[in-house]
Subunit: 492 residues, 2 copies
C-alpha cells in the first residue's frame, strides 16, 4: 500500500477518499453505494457507540429492536414522511430464488414467490415503531416511552461517499412518546444537546446548535434541531438531528392515551439520530496531509510502541522493556499496541501509524535502553521528544489529555475564524465562493429567499440560530424585515 | 396484563409463547415472521453480546461490518451455500416507490426503478465477505484474518416462533481466513468450545458438543461443530454452530495466497455464529410456571427492591433505607432496581418480578425498619427469608452466586436424567415418543438410516459424539456395523 496521500490543498475531496482507504477505515463494497467498515474503522465506531449509549442510558433511555422490513401500507401512513423517503426506498418484492432452468448454475427470482404486499427496507423507523407503540400506550401511566435502537438503514442515494453518504449506513435512532407537548419539546432539545456534548467532549469537534428551516427539516417533523460542524474545506456537515414530531405520527397511527382527568389525547413524539456519518466528520475535523488524526478518547489504541533493533538480542531486550511499559500503561487505562512484526521496518511502521492517526508513538531502540529513555511522538503536532522511562506514564497521560484539548481548540479556532458576518449580498456571494465557511446573516423567513440563495451560491441555511432579532434587522438578500438569524454554508 | 400463565405440563408450547410476551421480552411485529425485541428482552441480549464480544476479542478477533445486501451473482458463487439458502431469500428488486395515480394517498413500486441485478438480503454473509477478502489477501503475511460481525439477517422461514425461528434475527457471524487446514480446523473447534463455555458460565445451560451429520451441516461447510442443549420438554435446541469451510469459499471466490515458499494456494476458512435464538434457549432452560427465571449473570437487574407501605411517611422512611441499600449494592457491582411506583400494589409488583425472572427480590416494610431486617425472596426456589440489614450485602452476593450455580446444576441434572441408551430400535421409538430427551446410539453412517429414523420418529441426529467406536458396535436401526456414536432427539 502506497503511503502517499493527495494534499488537502490540491484536492480535498480526493484527499478524503484516499485517507479513508489508506487509514484502513472503510472501502467501497461490491454493492452499489454500500461500504465495508474495516476493523480499524469499526473500532472507532464502537467507541462512539459505547459513549453515546452511556449518555442515552444516563438520561433514562432503553435499547430495543424493531424489524428491518416495513410493510408498504405502514410506510404510507404518515404522508410527509412517506413522501420524503419514497424516492430512495429499497423494496423487497419476492421471498425466494430458484434455479434458472436455462443455466443450472444461476438463480432467478421465483415469480411464484411474489409478496402480496411489498416490504420497504427501513430508511428510518418511525412508521414501524409508532405502529407498535399504538399497542403499548393506553394511559398516561404508560408514558413516557424512551427507546433507542442501534440499527442499519437503507436510503438509495444516487451519489455516495464513504461514511458521508452511503446507501446502507449504521446509526442509532431514538423514538420517544410523551403525554405533553412541553415534555416532547424538552426531550428533542435535550438529545440535541447530548449530541453537541458528545461531539465536543469525545470527537473534539465544536458544533453549532440550531433548528432547521422548513425545507431542510425531517419529513414528518414539526421542528428539527441539529448540530452543524465546519470541515477544513469550509463546508458544513450536519452531524446529528433531533426531531420534535408533534402529534403527526400519533395521528397517522391513531395513538391516543387517557390522561389523569380521564380524557383522551394524541401522544407527542420525538425522534433523534446520529450515524456512521460521524466517522466522516471525525476524519475531516482533525486529519492532515500525513493521514488520520484521532482524538485520544476515540482512538482504537492511544499508544503504539515500535521497537527499533538490528538483531534478535536487541529485539528481546526491547520487548522485555516494552512489556513492562505496556503493563503500566494498561494499569492506567491507556490502550496500547506493541508492533513486534519482523516483516516491516520501523520507518514503514512510523508511516503506517501516522496514516492511522494513533495519538502517541513510542519508539524504543538500543540507545534508549542504555539511557533509560524512549522517543515519544505526538501525532497531532508531529513533535518528538525523549522522555525518561520513569516519567513515561505521567507524560503519556498528560500528553493524551493535551492532544484531546489541542484538537478541540484548533478546530474551534478554525470554526471561529471561518464564521463571518457580511455587509451585503455581493460580499456574501464572494465569500461563499472564495473562502467558504459559515456566514451568519438575517433571513426574511421565506422559502423563496432560501431557494434563490441556494441556486445562486450553493449555500444553504444550515440552521436557524435565533428567531429573536433586532427590530431593524433586514434579510441579507431581499432586504425585507428579518425574522431570524441563520447560518449559511455550502454543505456535505 | 393478566399474570396467569399456562402451565408447562398443560401445553409447553403455549407456555413458552405466553411467557415471552408476559415477561416483556418480545412480541410479534406487523411484518410476517418478524419480532419486536422489547427493552427488557433486549437488555438480556445486550448482556449476552457483551460477554461473547469479550470472549471473541480475547481470542484475537476484531469486529467489522459488511453490507446487508448481496448482489445475486455473488450469492450464486458458492453453489451449495446458494442452493441451501435460495429458498428463503428476501429479494430487493426495486429502489423507489412512487405515488399511485389512482389513489394519491398510496404508494406503488416504480417500475422504472427496477434494479439491473437483484439484491438478496443476507441470510448469512460468507458470499459478500469472501468476495471482499479476495482483495485483502495476497500473501501469508495477510493471514490469518479473524473478523466477527454483529448484524441482522433475514431467512424467509414459513413457521416462525419468537426468538426460536424468526424471518429476521440478530446474530454474530465470525469469518476467518487461514493459511493452513490445521489452523482453520482448530479455529472452528475453538469457537465451538467458546460457545459451550458461554452457555455454561453465563446462561447456566449445559450443552453437548459434537459435529453435524452430512444432512444437517451448514450449506457450504466441510464440517459443522455444534452445541446442543436439552429443553424442559425433552426437545433439543441447536444453540450455536461453528463451521470448517475448507477451501470451498476460497475456490468459489478465487482467494489465493502466496505461501512462504512462494507457492500459491487457496485460503482455508471458518465461520461461526450464535443468534437471538439463544434467548429462546435461555428462557426454556430455567423458567417455570410462574414465569421467567434468569441466571444472575445475564439478568438486566439482579435485585429488585419493593417498598411496602400504608402512607407517605412510611414510604419516605423506606425509600431512605432503600437508597442506602442501593448504593451499597451498586458499590459491589450488583445491579438493582427500586420500584417506587405508587400506581401498583406490592402484590402486583411481586407477581411482575416473578414473571420477569428477577433473581432476587427485597421487600421492605415498616416492621423491617423496626427490626432492621428485610425480606429476601429467591426467584429460582421462591424461598423467603428475613435477613438482618447489616448482613444483606454478603447474603445477596452469596445468594446470587448460589442461584447461578443452582440453575446450572438443575439443568445439568435434567440433561443427565434425560440422556439415555437403548437396547433396541423399538425401545428407542417408544422412548422418543413418550419421554423425549437425548438418546445416545450407534449409527451406520448412512443417510438412509438417518432419513428413515427421522420419518419414523421425528428424531434427528443432533450431533455426532464420536467416530471412534468399538469394533463390534452395531447401528441402532440397520444393525449394520456402526461408524459413529450419535445423539438423537426431537429438535426445535
Amino acid at each position: 500500500m502506497s503511503k502517499h496521500l493527495t494534499k488537502r490543498s490540491d484536492n480535498y475531496s480526493k484527499w478524503y477518499n484516499e485517507l479513508v482507504v489508506k487509514a484502513d477505515l472503510a472501502e467501497n463494497a461490491a454493492v452499489r453505494g454500500c461500504m465495508v467498515i474495516k476493523p480499524y474503522g469499526y473500532a472507532i465506531w464502537e467507541k462512539m457507540q459505547s459513549e453515546l449509549d452511556k449518555m442515552f442510558k444516563a438520561t433514562g433511555h432503553e435499547n430495543a429492536y424493531f424489524p428491518l422490513l416495513v410493510p408498504k401500507h405502514l410506510f404510507e401512513a404518515e404522508e410527509k414522511n412517506a413522501e420524503g423517503f419514497a424516492k430512495e426506498c429499497a423494496v423487497v418484492t419476492h421471498y425466494r430464488l430458484k434455479t434458472d432452468e436455462n443455466d443450472k448454475s444461476k438463480l432467478i427470482v421465483d415469480p411464484e414467490a411474489k409478496l402480496e404486499e411489498e416490504l420497504v427496507i427501513r430508511p428510518t423507523s418511525e412508521a414501524i415503531i409508532w405502529n407498535t407503540y399504538k399497542n403499548w400506550i393506553q394511559s398516561y401511566r404508560d408514558l413516557p416511552i424512551k427507546i433507542n435502537q442501534w440499527a442499519n438503514v437503507v436510503r438509495w442515494e444516487m451519489r455516495t461517499r464513504l461514511f458521508l453518504r452511503t446507501a446502507e449506513f449504521l446509526w442509532q435512532e431514538g423514538h420517544t412518546a410523551h403525554a405533553t407537548k412541553q415534555e416532547a419539546l424538552e426531550e428533542a432539545q435535550l438529545m440535541n444537546s447530548i449530541y453537541a456534548k458528545f461531539a465536543k467532549d469525545f470527537m473534539a469537534m465544536p458544533v453549532i446548535e440550531g433548528t432547521k428551516s422548513e425545507s431542510e427539516k425531517f419529513a414528518g417533523a414539526e421542528e428539527t434541531y441539529c448540530i452543524e460542524a465546519l470541515m477544513q474545506d469550509g463546508k458544513a456537515l450536519q452531524a446529528g438531528t433531533s426531531h420534535f414530531l408533534g402529534q403527526n405520527f400519533a395521528k397517522a397511527f391513531d395513538v391516543k392515551y387517557t390522561n389523569q382527568e380521564g380524557k383522551q389525547d394524541y401522544v407527542w413524539a420525538t425522534s433523534w439520530g446520529v450515524s456512521t456519518r460521524l466517522m466522516g466528520a471525525l476524519i475531516m475535523s482533525h486529519s492532515d496531509d500525513n493521514g488520520l488524526v484521532l482524538p485520544p478518547k476515540l482512538a482504537p489504541y492511544q499508544v503504539v510502541i515500535v521497537p527499533i533493533y538490528r538483531n534478535d538480542e536487541q529485539f528481546n531486550q526491547i520487548s522485555e522493556k516494552a512489556q513492562e511499559i505496556i503493563k503500566e500503561l494498561q494499569d492506567h487505562n491507556i490502550s496500547v499496541k506493541f508492533d513486534d512484526r519482523d516483516t516491516h521496518k520501523p520507518g514503514w511502521k512510523f508511516a503506517e501509524y501516522e496514516m492511522k492517526g494513533v495519538p502517541l508513538r513510542i519508539g524504543i531502540g538500543p540507545k534508549d535502553l542504555e539511557n533509560k529513555t524512549v522517543e515519544l511522538v505526538r501525532r497531532d503536532t508531529l513533535s518528538k521528544s525523549f522522555i525518561k522511562q520513569d516519567e513515561l506514564i505521567d507524560t503519556v497521560k498528560q500528553t493524551l489529555t493535551d492532544i484531546q484539548i489541542n484538537l478541540f481548540d484548533k478546530a474551534q479556532k478554525f470554526t471561529k475564524d471561518n464564521t463571518r458576518q457580511v455587509k451585503s449580498y455581493e460580499e456574501f456571494k464572494s465569500l461563499i465562493e472564495t473562502k467558504g465557511g459559515f456566514v451568519e446573516a438575517y433571513w426574511d423567513g421565506t422559502a423563496e429567499t432560501e431557494e434563490y440563495i441556494k441556486k445562486d451560491t450553493k449555500a444553504t441555511i444550515r440552521c436557524i440560530l435565533s428567531t429573536e432579532v433586532p427590530e431593524s434587522s433586514k434579510c441579507l438578500y431581499s432586504q425585507n424585515k428579518a425574522v431570524a438569524k441563520v447560518l449559511y454554508a455550502k454543505a456535505y
